[in-house]
Every structure is written in structure tokens, then in C-alpha cells.
Symmetry: C2
Subunit: 382 residues, 2 copies
DNA sequence: CTGTTAGCGCATTCAC
DNA sequence: GTGAATGCGCTAACAG
């Protein structure tokens, strides 16, 4: 952080704001906000009449309405959201809450970006606010991730991130009757409102594909240990083996985090055993470099002495050139559909939770191969 | 949207929620929220005492405090944010407002992602909420982009996107005394609080670099027409020409949007004139494909019969292999520093607006060239 | 068509 | 140490 005086550098544009910042409004609040009574006084009517205009209620003469509307515009008056939220429940703000700290769910994940686009398209376009609760998980009750909802800062929420197996918060949200949507299923709450790809199916598909290619000892880099999404991966893996009558070696399934070293180490240990001839990378990282790195340490290389199936959340993505197949999890597509339903719930165009489940798709890695469009398995929308 | 009955597909996981979603809380609000008086009654104290505990105020015996704390935890009570916001001004929510509709500022821009990371690091970690106002710009008063602030939904804001030349809203925000930070300067408000790279300097650097390589007719793909950021690009361009004693041909400066066709067309028209031997691409798109496309239509190719300088917001980025140089605008670095100052303002650790300006850096395109670290030109921080 | 009253949940002021 | 009263800005229910 250099000082203001750093003008000697070449090309300084000659603008020195250091001296200009002076007469800024001091301490005491700056301009006070207006209230309906300010407008009412100026318009010579009662507060309630202004309220009626604001809320497009009938019972105001066109002339009065026009006068008030004009005043509102002139003063740039906007009603105090806090005061409004204390009377009936308005639904003009969605919360986005995160179930896990950033070590577990990297905020830099691509998902943030498209999530944002979808939220904009669906909520922003309807004039709603979007409030992110980036919960500080160090706090004592970090496990309750829905502060924004309990504080009635927003009237419903999207639950982003994997659900902890023994999640309590989501039960409470469900019970509260507020509109919400999780991005995962949860065993302990079968009636949960969610939009998600079918992770179990993806694990099953991945494993079966490798079995069909003749592999019998298949490793798995399994993300989300301790979360429902991890359980589902495990189930799909086991189901494929059972169906094929192959033995289950638990050591082949390695729980990994988003940490590159962790993934490299897990891969390394898996591949030191040369009987392991294939790996399903369902770490959710969508980055294959650590896997390749781990393999190299074990003296092995993907596509040469072992085969890999990699998961991806983006259609058409090729996470690892040497992979024999990719499994595409249409998370984004599921979320988009879910959000469209959620906003209806917000706006009381629907009453009930919904469930949207999308089928993952396996595609063999080949340049220019045509890829399928996302397939919803089911949803509860009529 | 397929129906629930779509179970016939292979690999359906056997879980049919359609039948399970039933006994969901109906209409009438679900569980009511608690108030301090609920806690007070259960603890056998008055509301004020609970309030004291909530706000860590003195004047409560340790025993009473413990009893109340326990109740709060058990019931998962959280104070109503709306009610709180009606008494003194709390500062627990930053707004992020957008100055322009998504046609002008694509929401899919990379910036959203790192913006999010920074906001998380700096505001989220302090337990603050982050409220995006994705203003529906179709609405009549779309030009007032700070709804979130006027509604007192949040107590300060980050102004994202380019500032319109005749921006009124930012004046009002400045005047209100609320903490805020723009990501651009503004001629009409020299004392504006901002964090930004120096766009004028970047335009100057780009143009001068090309002049020094012998070019005399240099085209510019200029983003942000009608916005301050566009004006600054123009100024830097003009300054470089003047300094070199070269004539100014206004037709060489083409205002472009983020639309690929637009950029391709502008490039095409620039290059049809074979006396144009260089282009500065400061469209802000960070994508060079449309430029190459436009050139191709004009029968020309970058690096062969004309030279290009491309702007980028990411260090190390090579937007176009054939570019002779890149100009890096340390927008992210400026924003990070600005946000750190803004949060201090929020927390009353500082009183005044600040100004952070970062110097752009030109680097010639070469593999493995070492790149410089960002250089602040000035800020008002001690 | 318009106004009055009351109260949402909390924090401030002052009293005990 | 604690509690009662008051009011923040708004709107639902009721009067006129």
C-alpha cells in the first residue's frame, strides 16, 4: 500500500484525490431516510393512503394516487424493508446458505458463477433480492447454517453444498414451512425439497462401465465423506459390484477432500497396488492434475496402465484427456429447474415442496462426439 | 420436465419421492418464530434482560445470563433482523449493487467469481451478510440501482459495474453517509470512494506501446460507451497520440459492447482500411475470438499484418496468442484492498471514504515471462 | 374514498 | 441487577 504521494511514477494521470476528499458528511448519519409520514404530510393525506399507493391497493382516487406517486419519485422514497418485514411476511428476498465451510466446499468452484446467473434470471428478474449467508463456520453454532432464515432476513432459501448426514438444520427449515430447496437428497428426510443429479446412479454407471471393460479391482476417489453425497457414491459403487458378483474391497474406496495433496496421496496409495487397474474420480474437483500427479509417483499413467472415469458438472467438459469416459452430472440443469419451481413457491403459485432428480450421463471420451441433453428422472411438477 | 412415473428408465435408483411428499406443513406459516419475550417468559425474566444477553451488555448476573443463553441455544432463537434494523443502525449486511443491466455487464463475467471470494473473505468471515441487488432494469426507475440501500436492507454497498457518465445515484449514496465503494472513478464526483485500476493510464500505455513500435494508425475497440470507463479509455488514447504528435482520427475508435457480433463487425470495419496496422482491444471482454473473426472477414490476421494489444483483468492471462502485448488491469487486487477498507468503514474503524487506484501493467507476450506484482498508485490509507 | 388505532420485535430511556 | 414504558416505520383491521 503506497502512499498518496506516489505521483512520481511515470504516467500518473494527474488526478490527486488525496486533497479532494474533505468535506464528506461527518458521523451523524448523513441524510435521514424518509418515512411514509413524510410523504403523507407533503401530500396532505394520512400515512395509510401512502401505504395504499405503495402497495397498489385500491381505495385511492386517481388524482391523489398520482400526486403521491410523484412525491415518492421526487424524493426517491423507498419503504423500510425492516418495518415491512414486521407485518405480514413479504417474500422479496431469497437466501443462499452454505452447509459447509470453504475448506470443504471451495467457494471458487465454478458453481458459484452459474448459480449466480440462474439466481439472476429467476429471482433477480422478478425484482427479488438475493442474500448470501457466508456463515462464519468457526462460530459455536456453525452447524446451524440458516441464520438468514431464522433472522427473517429472507423468507426462503437455497441450500448450497452437501448435506451433512446428520443434518438437523434442514429438518427445521422443512418444518418451518418457508420455501426452500436443497441441492441434494437426504436419507433422514425423504420428503425434502431438492433439485439434484442422481449421485448414486452416477457412481453405479461409472463402476459398471469399468466392470464391463473387464476391470475387477476398481478404485474410487470419493468426495464428501461425512455427507449424504458421499454415502450415495458409496451405494452406487457397491451396487455395481454386487450386481456383477465382484468382491468388495473397502480399501479401494478412498475418501478425499478438495485438497490437491490429499487427492494425489490417495491416488498414489491406490495405484501402488498394481492389481488396481481402474479409478472412478468422483472427488467433485473437476481437476485431474492431482490424480495424474499421484499416479506418476506410483510409476503409473492414466490411459496406459490404468483407466479412469472422471465426473464433471459441465456438459462437454473433458476434465482429463486420458480418461476413458466422463460422467456428466447435470447439476446446473437440475438447479435451474428447481429454482424455477422455488420462485413459484415464493410467489404462492405453488404450495408444496418438490423434488427434481436428473439422470447423469456417461460418455466415452472422443473428440467431437455429440452429447445428449439432460434428462430429468422425475420431478413433482405436474 | 418428465413426470414422476418415469421410473422405467434403466438404473432408476428405486427411490420414489412422489408418494412420500405428503404431510408437509400447510399454508398457515408453519412454526412461528420466537421473540425475546418467549425467551423471557421461559427464563422468568423481562424482555430487556434477554436483550442485554443478546447484545453482550453488562447488568445481568452470570447465572441469569447462563440460563438465558442456554434457552436461546435450545430454541435456536435468533433476533428478528427487521425489528433490529428499526432501532439504531446495525451494520451486518453489505449490498452489492449493479449499475447496468446484464446486456451491458454480463453476469457471467469472471469477475463475479472472484468478487464472491473476496466478499467471503472480508465480509463473510466477519459474520456479515451479503445481499445482491440484481435490479430488474426494465422497471421505470432502473437508473436508481441502490434499492437495497434505500430500503435499508443493508447499511452500505459495493457498486459493481461501470458508472454512467451522468450517474445520479452514486451522488446520493455518497451524500447519505453510508459506507460504500465504487469500482470506478467518476468525473462528476471527484471525492467518490472507489477502488479501481487506472483505465486512462492503461489506454495511454497501450497506445504508446504501439506508437513506439512504429504504428501511426491505431484502432481501438472501446468498451463502456456512455460510461465513465469509456471516457477514460478515450482520454488515454488521445493523450498518447498528442504526446507523439500524431493526428487523431475518431473513426479509429470504435465503441463496442460485449456482444461478439458487435466486436467482430467493429474489427472488420477497422481492418478493411489497410492503413490501420494495430488495434487496442479494450473491450473488457477478455475474449479474442470475435476480433480474430472480424479480422478474417477483412482478409487479415493478427500478428501477421496488424498488431494487437489486449486488455486483461487476470494476471498472467494470455487472451490472444498472437497479441504483441497484454495490459493487465489489477481490478481484483484493487477491489480486495478496497473491500478491506470498506469493512473497516462498516465497523466504524474508519470514518471517511478512501480512494484506491492501481497502476496497470503492460507485458509483452512471451512464454514463461516473469510478471510483475500489482502496484497501487495511491490510496488514502495511512 | 380516506383516516384512526393498534401492534409487529426489539432497544433505548428511565425508573425501581 | 432488573423491569416498564415508549417508539422505530409500516400495515391490517376497523371506522367514518
Amino acid at each position: 500500500m503506497t502512499d498518496i504521494g506516489d505521483k512520481s511514477q511515470r504516467g500518473f494521470s494527474g488526478f490527486n484525490p488525496g486533497t479532494e476528499v474533505r468535506s464528506h458528511v461527518k458521523g451523524s448519519a448523513g441524510m435521514a431516510h424518509h418515512t411514509i409520514y413524510d410523504i403523507a404530510r407533503l401530500a396532505g393525506v394520512s400515512g395509510k393512503t401512502v401505504s395504499r399507493v405503495l402497495n397498489q391497493e385500491p381505495g385511492v382516487s386517481p388524482l391523489t394516487r398520482a400526486r403521491i406517486t410523484k412525491l415518492i419519485d421526487q424524493l426517491g422514497y423507498q419503504p423500510h424493508s425492516g418495518a415491512r418485514s414486521m407485518r405480514g411476511q413479504r417474500r422479496d428476498c431469497v437466501g443462499v446458505v452454505f452447509t459447509a465451510p470453504p475448506e470443504v466446499v471451495p467457494i471458487s468452484n465454478q458453481q458459484i458463477q452459474w448459480m449466480f446467473e440462474e439466481l439472476y434470471r429467476i429471482f433477480g428478474m422478478r425484482g427479488k433480492f438475493i442474500c448470501f449467508d457466508l456463515n462464519p463456520f468457526e462460530s459455536p453454532d456453525g452447524s446451524d447454517y440458516a441464520r438468514a432464515l431464522w433472522q427473517q432476513r429472507c423468507s426462503g432459501c437455497v441450500i448450497h453444498g452437501p448435506l451433512p448426514i446428520h443434518d438437523q438444520t434442514v429438518h427445521r427449515i422443512h418444518q418451518s414451512g418457508s420455501p426452500y430447496m436443497a441441492m441434494n437428497r437426504l436419507d433422514s428426510l425423504p420428503e425434502i425439497c431438492f433439485a439434484s443429479p442422481d449421485y448414486e446412479e452416477a457412481a453405479y454407471l461409472s463402476t459398471k462401465f469399468l466392470i464391463d471393460r473387464g476391470h475387477t479391482r476398481i478404485g474410487m476417489l470419493k468426495g464428501w465423506e461425512g455427507y449424504q453425497a458421499g454415502v450415495e457414491r458409496w451405494r452406487g459403487y457397491v451396487r455395481a459390484l454386487e450386481e456383477a458378483g465382484l468382491p468388495l474391497d473397502e480399501a479401494l474406496v478412498r475418501a478425499v477432500t478438495f485438497d490437491a495433496h490429499d487427492i494425489a496421496a490417495a491416488t498414489h496409495r491406490l495405484l501402488l497396488d498394481f492389481s488396481t487397474t481402474a479409478i472412478v474420480d468422483c472427488s467433485s474437483t473437476e481437476k485431474a492434475a492431482p490424480l495424474v500427479e499421484g499416479a506418476r509417483f506410483a510409476g503409473r499413467a492414466p490411459g496406459k496402465d490404468f483407466e479412469v472415469v472422471v465426473w464433471t458438472y459441465a456438459a462437454q467438459a473433458t476434465v482429463l484427456k486420458e480418461a476413458c469416459a466422463h460422467v456428466w452430472l447435470p447439476l446446473r440443469e437440475a438447479a435451474a429447474e428447481g429454482l424455477a419451481l422455488l420462485v413459484q413457491w415464493f410467489d404462492k403459485e405453488r404450495e408444496e415442496p418438490f423434488q427434481v432428480l436428473y439422470r447423469p450421463t456417461l460418455y466415452e471420451t472422443a473428440p467431437d462426439a455429440a452429447l445428449p441433453t439432460p434428462t430429468p428422472i422425475f420431478n413433482t411438477l405436474r
